[in-house]
């Protein structure tokens, strides 16, 4: 189900989740998660709320005891290890700063627990505060900081203990959009610089795609797809993954004929050729076309014709909804400086054959 990169799985796995699952009574929050994360790798667990991603993170952190499966860290089984013994740095959604301590004491808390000498404590606090660009704020209290600064303190506090694994639990969801984008870049840079193995839990696909080496898309307590952001986006292996990672148009059709490289699929009144990538398809299928692969055309060879129902301007592109005989098709047109068709206008729509992805109708998971 989850395609793990073989080289990483065998040689480099630093943190391994082996059939990890958690049930609360009869409700199974996490079915069975198997995941190998290489040293220094950044992996995102991406999914909607209730998909089991947070429970998975809590099991890795040691706050939730798994019902089944194992967690291996650097070859050692830590499934039953207490959280304070695991050496994991965690950045929480609420930041969870200690309000009664200064920034310096917050960051130094983990060092106090490790009986670090005074000199080294001060040096390491200064080092991580410098890293998150909060130099000189160590005497402040959390309440005297902005939301973005608090977030940085939370990151510094997690990094100060030189964690074996960094766990990020929706850390950006309380920041505004602009700040969030900046933090993505900055946090990713710090992570690469330190070479720290990181798991990010998020429901924000942009966040997952911009920061991760690999994305594990989760749904209903399973990993339904794992791969690089580009692979996961371009080759979704399930209906769910294709809908959750970016926007997509879904068309239902029936395979009429299977050629060497293409399947001939009837969609309503149209017939389309779709590359099948060596997989066998028959009967009902679903076709996916990303909005950015849909183009408008005046030529008579248009795949479809339809009427523009809405046209939203989003700065760098327009998002059009086009009412066609096959249903509503969304098209994303780059803003090249000229205005798009007006609402109510009839337009021709086309896409190239290789823009279409195909999945069997009854396939819900990868």
């Amino acid at each position: 189900m989850s395609t793990v990169h073989p080289r990483k799985a065998i040689n480099m796995s630093f943190l391994t989740l082996d059939g990890l699952g958690k049930s609360f009574g009869t409700f199974s929050a996490v079915e069975s998660i198997s995941l190998s994360i290489g040293r220094g790798e950044f992996v995102s667990l991406l999914g909607p709320s209730g998909c089991g991603k947070t429970t998975t993170l809590q099991m890795v952190a040691g706050f939730v005891e798994p019902t089944r499966g194992r967690i291996l860290l650097d070859g050692a089984d830590i499934t039953r290890e207490r959280p304070e013994k695991r050496g994991m740095g965690i950045v929480f959604q609420s930041y969870a700063l200690f309000a009664h301590m200064t920034v310096g004491d917050n960051v130094g808390f983990g060092l106090d627990m490790r009986n670090v000498t005074r000199g080294e404590r001060a040096a390491r606090i200064a080092e991580v505060l410098d890293m998150v660009r909060l130099t000189g704020l160590d005497k402040r209290y959390p309440r005297e900081l902005s939301g973005g600064q608090r977030q940085r303190v939370a990151i510094a506090r997690a990094l100060a203990i030189r964690p074996r694994v960094l766990l990020l639990d929706e850390p950006m969801s309380n920041l505004d959009a602009k700040l969030r984008e900046d933090m993505h870049v900055e946090l990713r840079a710090i992570q690469k610089q330190l070479g720290i193995t990181t798991i990010l839990v998020t429901h924000d696909q942009v966040e997952a795609m911009t920061m991760s080496d690999r994305i594990a898309v989760m749904h209903g307590g399973h990993i339904v797809q794992i791969g690089s952001p580009f692979d996961a986006y371009e080759h979704p292996e399930s209906v769910f993954a294709s809908g959750f990672l970016g926007k997509t148009n879904v068309l239902r059709g029936t395979v009429e004929q299977l050629n060497d490289r293409c399947a001939v699929v009837r969609v309503g009144a149209s017939v389309m050729k779709v590359p099948h990538g060596g997989r066998r398809f028959e009967g009902d299928v679903q076709l996916y076309v990303r909005p950015e692969r849909v183009a408008l055309t005046a030529a008579p060879d248009a795949t479809l014709h339809g009427r523009v129902t809405t046209c939203l301007f989003l700065g760098n592109h327009w998002m059009l909804q086009i009412d066609t005989p096959l249903g509503v098709v969304r098209a994303s047109l780059p803003n090249a400086g000229s205005p798009p068709p007006r609402e109510g206008e009839t337009v021709g729509v086309r896409w190239s054959d290789d823009a279409v992805r195909m999945l069997a109708e009854n396939l819900t998971h990868g």
């Binding site: 952190a61 040691g62 706050f63 207490r82 959280p83 304070e84 013994k85 695991r86 050496g87 994991m88 740095g89 965690i90 929480f92 959604q93 609420s94 969870a96 700063l97 200690f98 309000a99 009664h100 301590m101 200064t102 808390f109 983990g110 627990m113 490790r114 209290y141 309440r143 506090r157 997690a158 203990i161 766990l167």
Partner: protein, 306 residues
């Protein structure tokens, strides 16, 4: 009514303009008026009258005289009989406060971690004492703690003691009774603080390497301090001025300030002396509370400014 409030509003606006202060309007004053009137009528005026009364001279045959004197204060402040009463009151209030902290804080923490039906059930159990008349509750304690009471019978039946432990008409009995009544105030106060705590904070501390006890001592407890302090102030003030429980469980000879004042008023009919005891109790109470408050706030400034 409407007219008078209108003119009042206009008047206050007028004065605000005249004095050049930023115009606040009459609304805050009008909204506060009912509480303000109640406060003045039921607290400030009687308090003032009591204070005035404490300066009146008293004669055994003629009663309260119209002349003013400091003799009452000299008597209370100079007599070791009253010293003992005030020390006993302070000791009792302190013991009850400490017991309420020791019992109430863990109680609240456990309560906050209980699951849904049990939590509300035990909250009612804890708040229960407040729902029962103080006299009934205290007499209940007298039955439990008496020489022939449930507790002593049980202790003797179990062979733990051979003779009844004397609890009624002792300070121990009074402290037990008062703690029972006042623990809910501590629980409510700590509860309010605890609800504001981010549950992820404990996880954060654990992940940074702190074992559970260190998490409690270094992270949870310091953040509960404001709640513990306000709870302690309420408990101390109520314990120091408690009347019914010391009167019923402590008996006639084990006097505290409140019962001593009562006796002056109703037994010796020396109203000025009773008023003096009451005024001094109030002053001592305020001094101790304000002093402790200042000290703790300075000591744990970081927590209280959050």
């Amino acid at each position: 009514m409407a007219d008078s409030s209108n003119s009042l509003a206009t008047a206050s606006v007028q004065t605000a303009r005249d004095s050049g202060a930023p115009r606040a309007g009459a609304a805050p004053w009008l909204l506060a008026a009912p509480a303000l009137l109640l406060f003045c009528g039921l607290l400030l005026v009687p308090l003032l009258l009591t204070a005035v009364l404490s300066f009146h001279a008293f004669d055994g045959s003629q009663g309260v005289l119209a002349t003013y004197t400091l003799a009452n204060y000299a008597e209370v402040l100079g007599d070791s009989y009253y010293h003992e009463i005030f020390l006993r009151t302070a000791g009792m209030a302190l013991a009850v406060t400490v017991l309420c902290v020791v019992l109430g804080v863990p109680e609240t923490i456990i309560l906050s971690r209980m699951k849904s039906p049990w939590r509300s059930l035990f909250l009612i159990v804890i708040l229960g004492p407040l729902l029962i008349s103080v006299v009934v509750r205290t007499l209940g304690w007298a039955i439990l703690l008496g020489n022939n009471g449930l507790l002593n019978n049980a202790l003797q039946a179990l062979g733990i003691v051979s003779e009844p432990v004397k609890l009624v008409f002792t300070m121990t009995g009074v402290i037990i009774g008062l703690t029972h009544v006042l623990v809910p105030f501590m629980v409510i106060s700590v509860w309010a603080t605890l609800q504001k705590l981010d549950p992820q904070i404990e996880h954060a501390a654990r992940s940074l390497g702190a074992p559970p006890f260190a998490v409690f001592r270094r992270v949870v407890l310091p953040q509960l301090l404001p709640g513990v302090l306000s709870g302690s102030i309420i408990v101390f003030a109520l314990a120091a001025s408690a009347f019914a429980t010391p009167a019923l469980l402590g008996g006639r000879r084990l006097k505290v300030a409140a019962t001593a004042a009562y006796d002056e008023f109703l037994n010796t009919l020396n109203w000025p002396l009773g008023a003096t005891v009451a005024v001094l109790l109030l002053i001592a109470n305020i001094a101790i509370i304000v002093g402790c408050n200042r000290w703790i706030e300075r000591r744990f400034r970081s927590v209280f400014e959050a």
